[in-house]
Symmetry: C2
Subunit: 244 residues, 2 copies
């Protein structure tokens, strides 16, 4: 049977989702837990990569198993073999045509920043620090410009060989949450580093370096240099992946 | 001059505030940073101990220095020498009679729990998991019973040689905050493990094991066995210490 796992992880100590020649990946520790539980040396397929240091509330991955363990019991059973910073929060059986990557319809990410003169150890792990105050209402206005289908090539890092760089953004918001400012974005897919560059562009708006009215031209320019900086991985979390 | 430091730390990787024979303490890393910055081998005095794994948003400590660095510059200067999980968020000069421990008038702690069948890596570092749903309104009613001056000996762990076990609680609240339930308590002082046992008692109330109406008799009994469990350190944070 094919099993879908919904996985939450603190990416701080991992080289990302995908197995890499050097560094421990989240995929690797989940595969090892499956091996320990079932004796099967499977390869799991994630909905997509997350970079080194990026977190997930709801990464989704699938694998095929001959195990007689009911699919919905895999979460608790695998958690016995997983470290504290990687846990399966849900497991369920799916049709064999379902694919964690190719069947994904929508992904939601959030990017968190906080403003402080000094680093704040209790926020810093999941949020990126900005030294100067941010204009949240300007950021809220600006983030609306991401909505719709756009060629986001200017919001991607080089090094990717993706040909079609048009992505559709369904929703985008910026909200103040305690001491954090959280940018949440949902779309049909994201280019390499796209959310971190979107967040960096919104921070540039918040700092007054880009006006919300300039956002359309920044997107239309398709020029990486017009967009903001690539924000650090610690502020990024893959919130969920939807399949229907 | 005497300098007060307000220190924020993620206590996960420390054996607590105070220097211990085995394990790295927060006090130790701050003293080392002062040595690196000023060349002075000082002993800093904290407002009180925090146990292994307990966090702080606003631990306060003092030290005396001959350094010509202005007191308010110590925060940024020391942060260059401190690890990511310990940072000074404020520094200021005080009169030489001011003492981080003996001059403290009020302390505020918070204890966070979350309810989930599975451990949640992105919440788990600063919050303790409870497997079953909690009745928040019962917890809110129960926590009010802590307010006032009481002999809290039944809410302390043995191993302390404190003679006067009466403490005054000025305020106590339970609030739902996203997926966390946060107990915040302010008092003139706390016995060993007192906040963790108060939190455990409120969890027992939330689970229906103790009714809010029984709280008075639990406190009056002065019997450790009548109160709830000592909750794990990860959910506890020293929020601030007030001096006037």
């Amino acid at each position: 049977m094919r099993v879908f796992l919904k996985i939450e992880y603190d990416g701080t100590n991992y080289c990302g989702w995908q197995i890499q020649p050097n560094g421990l990946s989240v995929q690797q520790v989940v595969e090892k837990a499956i091996l320990s539980l079932t004796g099967e040396d499977v390869c799991i397929t994630g909905s997509g990569r997350t970079d080194s240091g990026v977190h997930a509330l709801g990464q989704v991955a699938h694998f095929d198993t001959q195990s007689s363990i009911p699919a919905e019991k895999f979460a608790s059973a695998l958690n016995q073999f997983l470290p504290e910073d990687v846990k399966v929060v849900e497991s369920y059986k799916v049709d064999s045509e379902m694919h964690a990557r190719f069947s994904a319809k929508r992904k939601t990410y959030r990017y968190s920043v906080y403003q402080s003169k000094h680093p704040r150890p209790l926020i810093d792990r999941y949020s990126a620090r900005v030294e100067f105050p941010l204009d949240i209402s300007a950021m809220q206005k600006a983030c609306q410009k991401f909505i719709g289908a756009h060629d986001f090539i200017g919001f991607s890092s080089t090094g990717s060989d993706v040909k079609d760089t048009v992505r559709e953004i369904y929703s985008a918001s910026v909200e103040s949450c305690g001491e954090q400012i959280i940018f949440t974005v949902c779309g049909n897919g994201f280019l390499y580093n796209m959310v971190r560059i979107m967040a960096g562009t919104l921070v540039a708006v918040g700092l007054g370096k880009i006006s919300p009215d300039e956002m359309d031209s920044v997107i239309l320019s398709k020029n990486r240099k017009k967009a903001g900086a690539t924000m650090p991985p610690r502020g990024l979390t893959l919130v969920n992946v939807e399949y229907c």
